[in-house]
Symmetry: C2
Subunit: 215 residues, 2 copies
């Protein structure tokens, strides 16, 4: 895209996001933007997905520094894993994703999972060209995160409450969390998951397949 | 401060930070900027501090939305607690802190704890006028955070590894975390803490008292 000096950085992002979305749609690739705090389990969910989701997909993983997370995905045998090192940047942008889409072998891919930079604030409002935003919460973070970081939960179509195997060791009011999610988005779909036990992840995969039918 | 259109927002922040630092110094107030992910335990550490640190201090707590955290501190009986709601902003700025310093009763205060917005990226490089930056990590976040978010660990004088009571339930290589911290800052002071058991927090308080002597 030519640089147009009359538009803001945000408008430019949104234009590139629209181009990404169009291109992904033309290739039949349903795209999910996964957002959550550092350490909430985004990469672990994608590792589990790599070995349990019986569909063809690619993964783009953003980190401030290192390609540790994409290496974890590649080790599962998943070849379509791409790393973006933002070099300090606190969120992925549509431009960064656009470059990876160019690079990617788009044939025989039905889903694209984008793991955003670990950050509950900045990635929330940047469109990358995805079809769905998915928020990941984790039990040890505490049960008030939805109230404190509303921007993400207004926009997320689904929320994954991860590490529920730790519920028994923590004081975590999961009903309150679900109510807070619904207060921001009455139609939100909520999954309670544990990568350790696999709980809830099949339901999540079924949800993705269902969503792809209508995109 | 008069608005000077010839300087960048960052330079403006740093000028205000320098003013904050000077003003706090003149009142003998030693100031700590506490930075960590959402849910790493920043507020819980300050709650514990409110009931166990035998010095006179004030607290400023930043959140994107809500004053839930400062309410938690006020409930401990601590009167000098101030909330900043950034309304979407992903870090505190020196200007926001400057306003609270104006408002604050600075007599008989020896320490100021600033709890930054829960975010391991954006707050790292913004000077607020503090004397020390302290990073808070938490065991359930996983042991690779120092490598992935270097900007904070280059700048933090001390690192608190919190929720160590959960070590027995997790695969967390604490030696690796400490080595990564020292790779970024060989002189870093590291504390292993649990707010549940109180472990490590007295050492942290002793460290603060020692630091205040020389500021």
């Amino acid at each position: 895209m030519k640089k147009n000096l009359n538009i803001s950085a945000r408008e430019r992002n949104d234009l590139i996001a629209a181009e990404n979305r169009k291109q992904l749609y033309e290739h039949g690739i349903f795209t999910v933007n996964i957002i959550g705090s550092p350490g909430c389990g985004k990469t672990s969910i994608l590792e589990y997905t790599a070995s349990h989701f019986d569909e063809k997909f690619a993964v783009i993983i953003g980190d401030v520094k290192t390609a540790l997370d994409s290496d974890r995905i590649i080790r599962t045998g998943q070849k379509n894993a791409y790393a973006i090192e933002t070099g300090g940047g606190c969120h992925l942008s549509a431009g960064m994703i656009g470059e990876k889409i160019e690079e990617m072998d788009k044939k025989d891919i039905d889903y694209l999972f984008i793991e955003n930079v670990g950050n509950l604030v900045c990635p929330s409002t940047f469109d990358l060209g995805e079809n769905l935003k998915i928020a990941v919460l984790s039990v040890p973070e505490g049960d008030e995160k939805v109230r404190k970081y509303p921007a993400l939960f207004i926009r997320a179509a689904a929320v994954i409450i991860n590490k529920i195997d730790l519920l028994e060791y923590m004081d975590y009011d999961i009903q309150r969390v679900k109510e807070d999610c619904r207060a921001h988005n009455p139609k939100v779909k909520i999954f309670e998951t544990s990568v350790k036990t696999g709980k809830g992840l099949d339901d999540f995969f079924d949800y993705l397949k269902e969503q792809r039918k209508y995109f």
